[in-house]
Symmetry: C3
Subunit: 294 residues, 3 copies
């Protein structure tokens, strides 16, 4: 009989996420080992337990999920997980702290239903947070031109630098979006506006995006009003507002969940995967048949 599939949930919060646990179980994981309050220094022993218990032939039936609400703390855990493993004793790993990878992937793939990304200019607002930066990386990979908006031009530049690998020199443009006027400028001429702002921070007044020329799709990833793009409702799903096709966080939620589950299942196909932003995006892309519908 096959050995059970085991997912080891390493979470930087005091309690390992219920959300991630339920999704994992619904994806068909046989046995879930939950670890909360995981410190970077504790990762090595936990990962060794995954590496040294099953023979190489069964290592693909063990995997690690790194999560938690603090994306930056979780990224530290991921680094330690990757650093601990060596060939051929690897197990696959997925990173989705705060849902950042699956949310960004769902947003970009939703946009791709309406726009041909290789011909799209996208403005990502609050692009320096974990979801925003991941959306930027995915858009670049998909061939879009991306305006990277932040109140701090320095942080926008830093995101552009990190996202520039594999991008051509015209794909990334840092934009200061500290005032409505600057934001209007950043949006003007974009076909896609995507906000990854923190809860309760409005980054675009309604008058700004509805008066901008060329905007065809607007996506706001905040699940709780007030949202970042004023006028969008979290449950918007293909909602036409002022001729713009709008989506809210709940509106992209079904796709996000589908991607999350598919990524978990992919973990158990081989023992060498590291599913971070780009890989999660590719898994999402394989799920949607996404011809531009314009």
């Amino acid at each position: 009989m096959d050995k059970p599939t085991i997912l080891i949930q390493l979470d930087c919060d005091a309690h390992a996420s219920v959300f991630d646990a339920v999704v994992a179980l619904d994806a068909g994981v046989d046995q879930l080992l939950q670890y909360g309050a995981v410190e970077p220094m504790e990762v090595r022993d936990l990962v060794h337990g995954a590496m040294f218990t099953r023979g190489h032939a069964d290592l693909h039936r063990t995997a690690i999920f790194v999560g938690g609400s603090d994306v930056s703390a979780a990224e530290h855990l991921l680094k330690h997980v990757i650093r601990t493993m060596f060939d051929p004793m690897r197990v696959s790993v997925m990173f989705d702290a705060n849902g950042a990878n699956t949310t960004a992937a769902a947003a970009v793939l939703t946009a791709a239903r309406h726009l041909k990304l290789t011909e799209t200019t996208a403005t990502v607002l609050a692009a320096t947070g974990p979801v925003g930066e991941r959306a930027v990386r995915m858009l670049v990979r998909a061939g879009a031109k991306v305006r990277v908006g932040s109140r701090s031009i320095e942080r926008a530049v830093a995101v552009c630098e990190r996202a520039s690998q594999g991008a051509n020199e015209h794909q990334l443009l840092p934009c200061s979006t500290g005032t409505p006027r600057e934001t209007a400028q950043a949006i003007e001429g974009s076909q896609l506006v995507l906000s990854a702002a923190a809860a309760g921070v409005e980054v675009v007044p309604e008058s700004v995006w509805t008066s901008a020329r060329g905007v065809r799709v607007a996506i706001d990833l905040n699940a709780v009003p007030p949202v970042g793009i004023a006028g969008i409702d979290p449950s918007d799903h293909r909602q036409i507002r002022n001729k713009v096709t709008c989506y809210g966080a709940i509106g992209v939620g079904a796709l996000k969940m589908k991607i999350h589950k598919a990524a978990i299942q992919r973990l158990f196909e081989t023992n060498t995967l590291v599913l971070d932003a780009e890989e999660v995006y590719e898994i999402g892309r394989s799920l949607v048949s996404a011809p531009a519908t314009n």
Copy 2:
């Protein structure tokens, strides 16, 4: 294939109860997620993970169990659980911190095997503890007259006030039971004496309850001697002592366990249940065919 049933065990103790875990698994729960040392402020995120991961059609296959040895701390957790949920995104919840609900229900239903509760006067001793107060509420609901005994008449009055919802004005009587003489008075004329005293506290000397007139059933819920009703043994099960039918904690244990398991199973029938004292009592009632045997 059906999604697995998932029970989320929220426990206020440092380690989530093994007892509650084993009962849940024996009740057929597919996957148990254990959380110990849960603080009220952490409940929201954990419950959101239960609410937002499965579609409405599958929400009845996720449920929450609130437990722990500190009943009052666990009640705080329960409040936060209930406050977090909203229609229609609910999952069912069971409360049984320190076994208080299932123990009280087993005790009252055991009494009902021998007495017609609508015609019974019951004296509950140490009625201001969590098990005692729950037994009072269940007895009132079953139509009994209840004398609510406590060393502190103020606390007895408070319990009566909280239990009075749905009760008629003659059903509840607070009694001071600070001395053997007062206790004798509280018992005199009752058909049922039920003690929910803390471990090692004797609330009724043997001479008091054996000389009281009218007592037909005596139940003591302390599993470790000395028990609250002197002369009862924890393993008493329908034991006749001085013409009184006696039960100890272990004697009502099998029924308690049966109620606990049935309640867990009930959780997964619909997504809107809150199983606290009254609801657990009703589940117990549906399990026993309890004609009065007097």
Copy 3:
């Protein structure tokens, strides 16, 4: 339908061992309850939850595993586990903190493939650590003469005293091994040299053991170089070096894992087992057909 088998993992480390968890699941345990950071004072309630939830007929389907990287702290937990249980409400318990029992058993049984232990003199180096002391106990039980080596003769004497139960007076000899010369003396005339030294501590220079007369088998239990017996590689498995058959930690790892899994399975056959050093050794012995191959 049979109740699920439940293993309760009590671990003194902050996070319950992933290693022990995976082995348990691969051994077929249906449901694993993991408890990390367990304090001795918390054991009682956890064990009561195992004792009082299933009827006697099903108690053999619940068991406890005591582990953690700090063997001495875990031994305290084990003491509390054993002290809590009473007849007939027992569940079986296995102790393998830091893999000490399964590692020692695998080492001694590996030696027994090449040597007739009743006719063997064995020198155990670093014999006062948890693995070393367990190997001494197992060798004594198997009828070998054992030289118990330690830098501290007092600690060596203490180990001999603890291991002397059931031994005859000529079986145990404490040896000071503080210098290469003393170590050479301790090894001289032994057929088996077994090192259980801590990571990075070389206890035998290569020139010492290769020039000693009579040594036929050398086993080093450190998985990370430098190892205790200089010249042995952790992956040595039946490797002949200077006419001596050598094994490293990884070389005995497959047998260690086999013993660990078999011991877990044995836990669920009856409810009264305490699987510590000697019992784990016996389980290992039943697994190997170990005729001396000299």
